[in-house]
């Protein structure tokens, strides 16, 4: 008896939820859904890279009067959900967006793991999946598996090898010697980079004098920095995540780690990195980079601060925005909201974005930024896979 009443209440609640949850939509708007962390371990990153770029784009599009779809301008309505950095929530959110909210398009989630976990669903419903915050070597395999998926930020191997090339250039110019310390966070991104980077370093004739990995959410780095210091390298490389990027750098500054090239991973490109380290940030190399001096980036930065109150990073923020520009232009060139037609348009089109001209090669952007460096308060791109506009790297001189 109880069970039956319970089921009834259950069904009723669901029904009520469904009716109430569907917001009143004016005729002629494009519904776009987004699900990403607002809480949980990845929230710190998505609060910088993901949400503000989306907010700015929606604002921009609507200020222009909307997206041109076959001659009529349609405004964009954003539906956002928090996945609490959990795969289950993310999957449920995508389902809700696709089948309850019936959105026209989905902005894929934040983070490599959740992008992959939701990819089969997004493919099942036929949405274009323009992944941004996913750096992995599997991009070609994934593009084959899910022909609706597009990958924009690059592969781990390229991130590691271009860094090694950069260092090689600095060594050949006599700026650094061949002793390197390599540490990495024991998580997907850190390990993939270390696995690609270490052999590349050896091939380039570098001598790895200290290497280790450390667990996620490590807070204290004194032992690592002092071991690295004792090995006396000219170059320190850490394939790190946000928390450790900050922690390692603070510790390196305190220990006065005497290196001439210092590299840390994710979050070096965050504006908070410069704020946290002050003058010590100068000369720090990190994952990402952008054509920071370009008018397009400068304008994007200014407007994002104006509209959302938060500064973009110097890496994935503009790419996130560019991915939405791609979506917009693809809708316009397809002239319809039909998902398959838009996917086709993305596949074959050429797009004018704040990251420059984009054209997908087998669903993958092949030219992207990989290494940047803080120089006088700006994180300039110093290495890429052929974007152009790289700035020459400088030698790290002390921590003050």
């Amino acid at each position: 008896m109880e069970r039956r009443t319970l089921m009834k209440t259950f069904a009723a609640t669901l029904l009520a939820g469904a009716v109430l949850a569907g917001p009143a939509v004016a005729e002629g708007t494009i519904k776009i859904g987004a699900s990403a962390p607002k809480t949980g371990p990845l929230a710190g990153g998505s609060a910088v890279t993901y949400w503000p770029a989306i907010q700015l784009w929606v604002h921009d599009v609507n200020e222009r009067g909307g997206i041109d779809v076959g001659g009529t301008k349609m405004k964009v309505e954003l539906i956002e959900y928090d996945d609490r950095t959990s795969n289950e929530e993310a999957i449920k959110n995508i389902q809700r967006l696709a089948t309850v909210d019936k959105v026209d398009f989905i902005i894929p989630p934040y983070g490599t793991g959740i992008n992959l976990a939701t990819a089969p669903l997004i493919a099942k419903y036929g949405y274009p999946h323009i992944a941004v915050t996913a750096v992995t070597d599997g991009v070609d395999e994934f593009a084959d598996r899910w022909p609706n998926s597009f990958w924009t930020l690059g592969t781990s191997t390229a991130f590691a090898t271009t860094l090694v090339d950069l260092l090689k250039g600095m060594r050949d110019a006599g700026q650094i010697n061949d002793k390197v310390a390599v540490v990495n966070v024991a998580d997907a991104f850190g390990i993939e980079l270390a696995n690609a980077g270490k052999p590349a370093l050896k091939d380039a004739g570098f001598d790895i004098v200290y290497e280790t990995s450390y667990p996620l959410q490590q807070q204290d780095f004194a032992p690592i920095i002092s071991s690295a210091k004792n090995a006396n390298p000219d170059t320190f490389i850490a394939f790190s995540y946000p928390g450790d990027t900050f922690g390692l750098t603070k510790q390196a500054a305190i220990a006065d780690l005497p290196v001439k090239a210092y590299y840390v991973g994710v979050a070096t490109a965050f504006p908070a990195f410069a704020a946290a380290n002050g003058p010590a940030a100068n000369g720090v190399l990190g994952a990402g980079g952008v054509n920071a001096a370009s008018d397009k980036y400068q304008d994007f930065m200014k407007r994002q601060i104006e509209v959302t109150g938060s500064a973009p990073d110097f890496w994935a923020s503009p790419v996130q925005y560019a991915s939405l520009e791609v979506l917009e232009q693809a809708i316009t060139s397809a002239g319809t909201l039909d998902k398959a037609a838009v996917i086709d348009a993305i596949k074959n089109g050429t797009f004018d974005t704040i990251m420059g001209e984009w054209k997908f090669d087998h669903n993958v952007i092949r030219k992207y930024w990989t290494v940047g460096q803080w120089q006088d308060g700006v994180f300039h791109g110093v290495a890429s896979t052929g974007v152009g506009g790289e700035v020459a790297p400088i030698v790290k001189s002390g921590w003050n």
Partner: protein, 321 residues
């Protein structure tokens, strides 16, 4: 074993009908409601398996994520070499073994220590797995690509739920269940009548851990990409404890009463107020703790008592005291 009483038969028939009815959900919707149902089924199994152990012993285990992650990892590592059903068995054995080890080491301790230890166990296992993978294999991400969709996962979870319920029911009828009831009431008495308390607890912990491991294994294809932070997500442990406690742990079916309403409630909160989810979940949570001190099943029992004859209600109350 005695034969089934008429009442038990009735319950069994009802349960079978109920399960059959629920099993048709994927035929009606394979979108959001199916995913929500998968989440409900997932937590129903986890909470019930958790209650198998924590209900009678009153030990709060926060090790769910550890067993769950081991199950997920078993599938992640073996999906390309072994058939899926074999992996489920291995997952059960592996997490059962871990539960056995932990149980032997910590179940003699008092409750608080057990709570903290299990809290750290998931982190510990995660770190060791990551460390092993970093140092001895290439990368920590594992891909699990199968043809299984949400509905297959849902059906597997339902089947597992049935097994959990039957196991729980069998345990209750067995000598072990009887022993557990005595232990739950008073451990000292149990010891005096010659019950091997530690052994009984360890056995239950192993059974519960094994089920949780299988659940993790079933869920692996849903993730597609298995990595330590998602497989050993400590949030799972907390959600299980909380939903089970909210439902009530006195009966086998009680956790269900926590899982269903609260999954839906939290879902409603998170979809309607995406920017205030934490705050509202917190408020809802505290309200529940204050207004439903004995969980939903407690509330139902209270209501029953009020409805029932006053004399027996008073007696029942006395018995509860």
């Amino acid at each position: 074993m005695t034969r089934l009483s008429e009442k038990e038969l009735r319950i069994a028939v009802l349960a079978i009908v109920g399960f059959a009815a629920v099993a048709t959900i994927p035929l009606f919707d394979d979108g959001y409601y199916l995913s929500l149902s998968v989440n409900i089924a997932l937590y129903a199994v986890l909470c019930t398996a958790w209650t198998l152990f924590s209900g009678p012993t009153h030990y709060i285990s926060l090790a769910t994520a550890a067993f769950f992650g081991i199950g997920t990892y078993t599938v992640g590592l073996g999906i390309d070499v072994l058939p899926f059903p074999v992996l489920l068995v291995i997952a059960a054995i592996a997490s059962g073994l871990l539960a056995g080890l932990v149980g032997v080491a910590t179940l003699r301790l008092s409750g608080v220590y057990f709570v903290i230890f299990t809290l750290g166990l998931a982190e510990l296992v995660r770190q060791v797995v990551t460390w092993l993978q970093t140092n001895f294999t290439n990368g920590v991400g594992l891909y699990v690509f199968t043809d299984m969709g949400e509905k297959h996962i849902f059906w597997m979870l339902l089947a597992l739920a049935a097994v959990v319920y039957v196991t729980g029911w069998l345990i209750n009828r067995s000598r072990l269940g009887f022993a557990m009831r005595i232990i739950g009431n008073d451990e000292l008495v149990a010891r005096h009548v010659g019950i091997d308390v530690a052994r009984a607890k360890v056995i239950l912990f192993v059974v519960s851990g094994a089920f949780i491991g299988v659940t993790g294994a079933i869920l692996a294809p849903r993730f597609a990409y298995v990595e330590p932070p998602s497989a050993f997500n400590p949030v799972i442990s907390f959600q299980v404890v909380i939903m089970a406690l909210l439902g009530g742990t006195g009966r086998l079916w009680a956790p269900l009463l926590g899982v269903i309403p609260f999954t839906i409630l939290f879902d409603q909160i998170s979809s309607r107020f995406p920017n205030h989810t934490s705050l509202l979940i917190g408020v809802a949570f505290m309200a529940i703790v204050y207004f439903l001190p004995r969980g939903v099943s407690g509330l139902i029992e209270d209501l029953r008592k009020v409805r029932g004859d006053f004399g027996s209600a008073a007696k029942a109350k006395e018995a509860v005291r």
